[in-house]
């Protein structure tokens, strides 16, 4: 056990899984010598060779599409999509092909592949890199969507995603790659998908988030505590499958909910969670459910992204207002 950053945890996971299973290959843009633009694959090509860690031509459609083929041929690809914003160039292969191949072949071809991608914003990337488009993919049956917030979870959930035979979109918080640091076992372990993590226990209000937003919301909860508001923070960890029971248990306890996402408001995954809560625990609610999200605008240039991505001050203010209105 030692303290590791998220990027270190992800790298260690891939290295250990590749050591354990020679069917695992890593493909993506700049994943070889460079070790990926965020260094997630640093050292892997040196250890496993250029037939298992492959620098791909710059073409996201065929990076995903050939990954499907690699999986059908008997390999277990980990595909790095350099930025989630570039997922648009591969959307037809992900949404229409990866997600449905098993269904369309009536179970003949499972796709044991993982698509890893930096997710969200907050690090001043150039335009069209940062994005929080998880809702496209949670709206796509056949995929699993995982979004860890801690280094510990990143390692265990990625190992689980790699071990499973379903395709997984593994969203890694851009902002958390180096900022997030926690105790991570040196040995291999797995965390099952579909089990949320209670980051902080509380009794007045449930704050629900995933990925980098969970870290931010946890900080907001500290500030709320100073104001006398006891917030329970749920880090979802995986969006598909979704831990509905875990959410319901918390809502039954607190009666108030805010869902926080980096993505724009309309049609976001927060809306799905809220609809689920009103189905599952409407009579536990003591106040309308709050959504704290980006506006319905395109992800902006880095200079103004702090207006776009929800921050702790906003969460504190809106949750405090919710509490006083429903007191």
């Amino acid at each position: 056990m030692s303290e590791k950053t998220m990027i270190e945890a992800i790298r260690e996971c891939m290295r250990q899984e590749m050591e354990a299973d020679d069917k695992i290959v890593v493909i993506g843009e700049d994943v070889g010598k460079l070790g990926g633009v965020f260094r997630a694959t640093d050292g892997l090509q040196a250890q496993f060779g250029d037939q298992r860690v492959v620098d791909m031509p710059l073409a996201e459609g065929v990076i995903i599409g050939s990954g499907i083929g690699l999986a059908i041929s008997g390999l277990r690809p980990i595909i790095e999509l350099q930025f989630l914003g570039f997922g648009h160039q591969a959307f037809h292969q992900i949404g229409q092909q990866v997600a449905r191949l098993r269904f369309r072949s009536q179970g003949r071809h499972s796709l044991p592949l993982v698509i890893r991608s930096p997710y969200g914003g907050g690090v001043r990337t150039p335009e069209l890199h940062s994005d929080a488009f998880e809702a496209y993919y949670t709206h796509t049956p056949g995929l699993k969507v995982v979004a860890p917030a801690s280094a510990y979870d990143a390692k265990g959930l990625l190992a689980e995603a790699i071990a499973g035979d379903d395709p997984v979109l593994f969203l890694e918080p851009l902002k958390g790659y180096r900022l997030v640091k926690d105790e991570v076992p040196d040995e291999r372990y797995r965390i099952p998908l579909g089990k949320l993590r209670v980051m902080r226990e509380g009794t007045d209000v449930t704050l629900i988030a995933w990925s980098a937003a969970s870290v931010m919301v946890n900080q907001a909860a500290e500030e709320l505590a100073a104001q006398g508001i006891s917030a329970e923070v749920l880090d979802l960890r995986s969006l598909t499958p979704l831990d509905i029971d875990g959410i319901a248990a918390s809502v039954a306890k607190t009666g108030r909910v805010a869902v926080i996402q980096e993505a724009p408001l309309t049609g976001g995954f927060a809306s799905e969670i809220i609809a689920t809560i009103q189905e599952e625990c409407f009579y536990s609610l003591q106040a309308p459910i709050l959504r704290i999200t980006a506006p319905d605008t395109p992800y902006p240039l880095g200079g103004v992204e702090d207006y776009f991505v929800p921050d702790a001050a906003r969460v504190v203010a809106e949750v405090a207002a919710l509490m006083s209105e429903s007191a």
Partner: protein, 324 residues
């Protein structure tokens, strides 16, 4: 060669039977291979179904049959029964692809994966002049060049993408010339010449097995039928051009060759047609005997390990249907 001819006649019979059934409402919308039989069959006979793979589009029934995909599954699929999509375990094939060109990156990946794992299997992917305009084709040929993946891009230039003629797809003189830009081998062949198609495919397979990488084969043929059973080619087709191509019918061409060799006559031809009709009738009867899948078909095979929420929906859907 008789075996190849039989496959051509068999699928011509299927196309005629299925079209008739579609008109009676007993079969769904589907695309026949009419006019392109030599192209598909010539290619298919150059493959070893034991180790080579197919990544089809949807107009290549003869190749699917030779690879071992049951005719009744093809029929079931186009009757709207998802069970038809089932690919038997020993059949090296991707599902039919409806989204044009999307199978081509996948085919390239399978080929590359076979190579990485030390197999000498090759992959053939079928597509048309229309699909050749898709970005997936460019990306795939480029990757195949870089990885030397043992994939054969079998481009059937049949003149039409539904109603859009070949000249609207490209200003290039030939499709095969594109190969040069990707560092792969390219060849054009008369797609209505069974033996020529077979030969160029055999050469491409040999190159691929020898580690020399991919080939783009442009098989020049003609779709003498409609795009599919919902299409009305009389709105756009050049009748004189069609008439010319009908004269080059690939089945007649093989039969004329065999007659000239003295090994074929009206009696043998009729016997083959009767045999094929019986086989297709049997496959159709088998397909029609399969009960339509129930609501569980919506849920089966979506995931290996399905989310609990989907499993709850499965139960609810089945219960609701049972109660209705």
């Amino acid at each position: 060669m008789i075996e190849a001819l039989r496959l051509m006649v068999l699928t011509r019979t299927f196309d005629e039977k299925a079209t008739a059934m579609q008109r009676q409402g007993r079969f769904g919308t589907f695309s026949s291979v009419r006019g392109q039989e030599a192209s598909v069959v010539g290619c298919s006979f150059a493959l070893d179904p034991q180790k080579d793979w197919l990544a089809p589009q949807y107009r290549e029934l003869p190749a699917l049959i030779r690879h071992g995909y049951p005719i009744e599954n093809f029929a079931l699929y186009f009757m709207g029964n998802p069970r038809g999509g089932a690919i038997p375990e020993n059949v090296n094939m991707l599902p039919l692809q409806i989204s044009l060109a999307a199978q081509i990156p996948q085919a390239t990946g399978v080929a590359w994966g076979l190579k990485l794992q030390g197999s000498d299997g090759v992959v053939v992917t079928f597509f048309g002049d229309g699909a050749s305009s898709e970005g997936d084709v460019h990306e795939s040929m480029n990757l195949a060049g870089v990885t030397k993946a043992p994939v054969i891009f079998f481009l059937q230039n049949n003149g039409w993408a539904i109603s859009t003629p070949r000249k609207n797809q490209t200003a290039a003189r030939s499709f095969a010339e594109r190969a040069l830009g990707y560092g792969i081998h390219g060849v054009t062949v008369d797609g209505n010449d069974l033996l020529a198609v077979h030969q160029v495919t055999e050469e491409a397979v040999a190159r691929a097995r020898a580690g020399e990488g991919a080939t783009l084969i442009e098989s020049v043929t003609y779709r003498t039928g409609a795009h599919n059973t919902a299409d009305d080619p009389s709105r756009y087709i050049d009748q004189a051009e069609l008439d010319e191509w009908v004269k080059k019918d690939p089945i007649e061409r093989v039969e004329n060759y065999l007659r000239a060799k003295g090994v074929w006559d009206d009696a043998t031809a009729q016997a083959m047609r009767d045999e094929c009709a019986a086989e297709i009738d049997e496959a159709m009867t088998k397909a029609r005997a399969v009960p339509l899948a129930g609501p569980e078909a919506l849920f089966d095979h979506v995931y290996v390990d399905p989310p609990a929420r989907m499993e709850q929906q499965r139960t609810a859907w089945i219960e609701r249907t049972a109660g209705a």
